[in-house]
Amino acid sequence: MIEERTMETKQIGEIYRISGPVITAQGLSARMHDVVRVGKEKLIGEVIQIIEDKTIIQVYEETSGIQPGEVVENTGLPLSVELGPGLLKSIYDGIQRPLPELEKKTGKFIKRGAVVNSLNREKEWDFVPTVKNGDAVEGGAIIGTVQETETIVHKVMVPPKIKGTVKSINKGKFKVEDVVCELESGEKITLMQRWPIRHPRPTKDKLPPEIPLITGMRILDALFPLAKGGTAAIPGPFGAGKTVTQQSLAKYSDAEIVVYIGCGERGNEMTEVLTEFPKLEDPKTGKPLMNRTVLIANTSNMPVAAREASVYTGITIAEYFRDMGYDVSMMADSTSRWAESMREISSRLEEMPGEEGYPPYLGSKLAEFYERAGRCVSLNDEVGSVTVIGAVSPPGGDFSEPVTQNTLRIVKVFWALDAKLSSRRHYPSINWLQSYSLYKNTLDPWYNKNVSSDWSKLNDESMKILQEEEKLQELVQLVGSDALPEKQQVTLEVARLLREFFLQQNAFHKTDAFSSLDKTKAILETILWVADKAYETLDKGVRAKDIVSIESRNKISEAKFDEDYQKVLSNVKKQIEAELKELVENI
């Protein structure tokens, strides 16, 4: 589809009107979403409306000093990203210009009109073919591999919509623009391809979300699981621990590729991400986490139109790796800033506003974007997934505002970060009463089959206890815990065990940071076993206040920090059993 367009002759027009980032050109016969170069400085813009003989262009850079009458040149290509070896470890702006290259070119400040290649043109890659002459290949087919980083093998694919028989294919060192394979039809395939960011990359089939993205965070894996190819939202009020949660997800989740988009956020914060991420170590390989990461940074003072494009740039890169058969997780921080950039451009276009000035198509744009997530069979029959985790920043913490509401209507998982929990040093500060996951039912069969047949039963039970605790706490505030019935006093203690030894997790502790599903289940099972034993003992006539103060109960926490958690837990069980037995004997 792009290839067809490149055949067109380039069109030249001139600027008619300029109003902020929106420019009107005349004499240009462009198509919707074609990229144009505006003015003498060749600013990057995109066609967003065509009205009679006028073309309306949104410009990705500052427009002051530009004059009517200056040239507008149509590239004939839609806004696209370059896909090929060299994507990983990169740090890009919203329209895929590498920031380190921009620095080399224009200095510490980003000057407009800078043109830099997204992928390094000079670097040579070792290409190993996996098909041979005479093989028939179709769009999406893998024709060879490149070891892109120490940990990730880049699979070179035939661009979609091309097919034919391999005439020649070569092994050896190639630059991204070099032809590695030629088809009988004359099509030349390079290591690099382009794809328009506003079009989802084609797949053969979309699979149901039946496999969980294992995060290693107990509260998420057990209570609010996210499916591979699923969508989740996290609201990020000030100081609620959003950054730590995102970093844990990037480090420990079983996604192979991470795409992180800083969209309209603080410069200093972005710098923290840009300096922190390269320092993070991949716990699975011991190599830098950047080896499997792509960062996109578009801070709040960078051009608003590029902010609008940044999430599409990110998800297109994510889809490309998905097509190789990788599980990709993509984080967008924050989708609220993205929505605001849509609002800003919409108002420049003098469109009729919807709720709170947002364009009426806000909901459908958000839905379209999240719909690009999914677990798919790619054209080459590999199965890969793109999981999207979007942060929302509701103004004034008001969840009823349009971006949050429209997001919650689409995403299936909501992890409610809670500033109160984080100020109480309860990490991860995810509120278990407000969060939800709609994947629970579709994922339970997987868990019951692969971890343990009573997985879903255990989780439901623990949720029940936590919910009861909430109700009981209200009572306690009024009458004090001593006035509660004996049974409920025990329940409160069990809930505390759940909160402190199961839900709480130390992201910075070597062992506790990642909890395997077996470990998660073992801890949960132990706590619920304690609950059963405690109720039994209570029935035998022991006072609740004696039961809830047995010493060995707090030793469950040691299991979190011990590699050999099974041994710890079985010891604790023995001790608890002995203590409870003693209580019964001493009645």
Binding site: I18, Q67, I110, G264, N268, S300
Partner: protein, 460 residues
Amino acid sequence: MSYKEYKTIKNIKGNLLFVEKTHLVSYGEIVKIKVGKDDIRLGQVLDTSKDLVVIQSFEGTSGIDKTASIRFLGETMKFGLSNNILGRIFNGRGLPMDKGPEIIAEKEMDINGDPINPYSRTSPADFIQTGISTIDTMNTLVRGQKLPIFSASGLPHNDIALQIARQAKVKDQKEEFAVVFAAMGITNEEAHKFIKEFESTGALKRSVVFLNLANDPAVERLVTPRMALTAAEYLAYEKDMHVLVILTDITNYCESLRQMSAAREEIPGRRGYPGYMYTDLASIYERAGMIKGKKGSVTQMPILTMPGDDITHPIPDLTGYITEGQVVLDRELHRKGIYPNIDVLLSLSRLMNSGIGATKTRDDHKAVSDQLYANYAEGKDLRGLVAIVGEESLSDKDKRLLKFADLFEERFVKQGFNENRSIEQTLSLAWELLGTIPSDELTRISTDTKKKYYKQIKEE
């Protein structure tokens, strides 16, 4: 140079002039509007097309008629800079308003600046001592940060800003900050006070002052902070200085933004403010920072007054999403006669942790700050309880916390306008207050730290 001049004003609406013309005019270009004989005003192109331009007048449109002539200067808003801007006072659009000589520009810079490449930034991590205990200990300011003061009408935010401008320095360094001070829409009286204060403390010679007064045209306010930040960037990145920028009052700036947006008949967003206010504010606040390989830095302290003391109002709300924390002033403390009336519980510095600790301030800093927070928060909660049940029914521990909250406000928060406390003095003072609480109730501080600094004060 020949300029194109037109007498073809078609419409005048608010501060906007609609002018027909024949030659090509750039977006953002500066124009001179000549009214009568010697009334020359500045304006800027907001919208330009082949035959019509929309011009925003920086000095109002009153007195302008269709015969006024418009001269297009062919360039965007620039500010001529040199070392000599230090010690000078400019009006809101960068013209000298003291009696000093004109500035002979060594360099002209576009006032809109360019965004800093996020890759070229370095993380701010140098502690700035403001001499104000509540800021230094609990909401630490670091070099390159943007930390706004959220105030409200009738509160002494200007005094606090002045005190910070006078006292701010990096610990153990003699070098003082250069201060760029931009006033937007403040009264003549306030401006006078600022200038007097700057002159009397000798701070003026290391300051650049921009004054847009309440009776100056509202549109000029949109230019003032950009002028100031251009000056700041020049001093920081060309002259290797550490610059503290104080912008007051951002609320007036936003009002102007709304006014101009309405005049252009744009679709309003929340509470009538334009939808691009976030981006617009970001283009101001994000000009704070530190850059790899540059010696200087730009630190910002914008001041805003929350309309109706409402922290969820769009101005403080959007500001809070861009800046790295906030210092919130409290009306109740002010009524109690406590200066500076900083409410530490609502205040926050998001970069604090990178600027404190053994090598930067002192090893006990973090723990002391956490403990002060915890005790004061609890003590303040207890005040509510006391109002219902009376002090008699409190436990001894609660009584101590209640007393701690009072002591904290009276001795720690409260300090003189000219009182400059070093971080050591402030931390010692904090330990004195913590001494009223038994050691085992200070749960946020490790035993080692307590051994080193804690001394219990026996009650008489």
